[in-house]
Symmetry: C2
Subunit: 229 residues, 2 copies
DNA sequence: ACAAAAGTGTTGATTCTACACCCATGG
DNA sequence: CCATGGGTGTAGAATCAACACTTTTGT
């Protein structure tokens, strides 16, 4: 019968988080070395189980917070993975979420406690279960999203230079972008505030800092504008 | 503890299908009048429970097949819904799938057996649980996908006219499209075969029939082309 | 002959892409 | 004074959007 609420078919629901970060070396993901069975000692995504009295979005937030101390993070549900033996211990369906955070903001302390580490997406280790697939999937989604709407500001510090933004997009899309065309396209969107302040780290001349103007961005979103890099 | 496999937290997993169809009246969804509790007699999406030894994709295929007799249908996983009380009987997380089918092909017989009916998306009845939200979400996704890649041929009969294709896109995007611009854009994609055959139903002059060229389409997909209507 | 839908091109506006030089500053 | 990255504009190509008339044929 299709419609019986049979407890024989109950399953565990896990949440796994693909946490993207960005620094001068490029796009990275946060992984932990498991300190519990199964697969103890192997690398995996940050994850946990959905509690009975909790919705998925909150489970993702809770899990992220537990491992990083972060809150108010951009997260988006990605996909449910349900291969029968994806988890050898018990039938477990996992719903993946991806998060964008800026590496500087994360809480070093908590990350150390949980044996978490940032890896460049190019040279991340092999992961347990179907986590490799989840990461690939998340990267595709991030690229896709980025090529349509300018998300990704979450990956940068609050104040950032045009160069940082350019490099972020190059890292996400893994292709080179023309500096002048990029800047004029971003400017034409009118979603950045140019500050009077300059970042003097990167060069002798110094480069202007910008902040992301969330209000203008939301306003533009209504006319679902497109970013074509 | 984050990582205990506690059977106390096991939940039921449902699959709900948003089944889109298209005919001369526009874009439609397939709904059933529930003949079981809870909410007997109300309209709902076609759905069922995941079995313990089944993956989600197969559950969606099985459920669709049970209610319509259809197989080999384009389906795509959409989203997992997890509000605590979304199903009043038991804690149930539902994963939605959407399917695109052409109405002519469906098995009238089975649809009648299950009290299923096609509704124009504009005047569909109120649905149980969070199914309204699922439908809205699916429409958004369909629009989004359609505006990027030409999916949607699944909604048409094998042979179709340019007018049908145009009207399909107008229905999905719910905006008018310029006939000439549309046709030349579609032609420039080179993913249709123009047949020698004409459809004489629609006019005295008759209009050429086309089929979708899946091989060319797949080939183009590799260069991730964009359709901008 | 006429009604009804099919089919077909052009033009101006916009957007995209490719490309190179001067500027400001700290050392 | 010079090395380093920052900042800026243009022209030709491509694409987009708006637009109207002729063709066919069944009645």
């Amino acid at each position: 019968m299709l419609n019986s609420y049979s407890s024989a078919d109950k399953v565990l629901l896990a949440v796994d988080c693909i946490i993207f970060g960005f620094d001068h070396q490029g796009l990275k993901i946060l992984l932990i070395k498991r300190d519990f069975e199964p697969e103890r000692g192997k690398w995996s995504l940050i994850g946990g189980f959905l509690k009975r009295d909790e919705i998925l979005d909150n489970a993702a937030i809770r899990i992220l917070n537990t491992y990083t101390g972060l809150h108010d993070i951009y997260m988006e549900q990605l996909h449910a993975y349900s291969e029968i033996d994806r988890d050898p211990v018990d039938r477990t369906i996992s719903v993946s979420y991806y998060a964008l955070i800026n590496i500087e903001n994360h809480n070093e302390e908590l990350i150390k406690n949980y044996h978490a580490e940032w890896f460049s997406i190019a040279d991340a280790p092999n992961l347990i279960f179907d986590h490799n697939e989840m990461v690939q999937h998340a990267i595709r989604r991030l690229r896709y999203r980025t090529s349509i709407k300018p998300i990704g500001f979450e990956l940068l510090p609050e104040k950032f230079t045009m160069r940082q933004l350019l490099e972020l997009y190059e890292a996400i899309l893994s292709k080179e972008l023309d500096k002048r065309n990029f800047i004029s396209k971003i400017n034409s969107l009118e979603i950045l505030n140019k500050l009077d302040e300059k970042d003097m780290q990167s060069s002798r001349k110094g480069s202007y800092l910008y902040t992301f103007n969330k209000e203008k961005y939301e306003e533009k979103l209504l006319n679902d504008f497109v970013l074509n890099l």
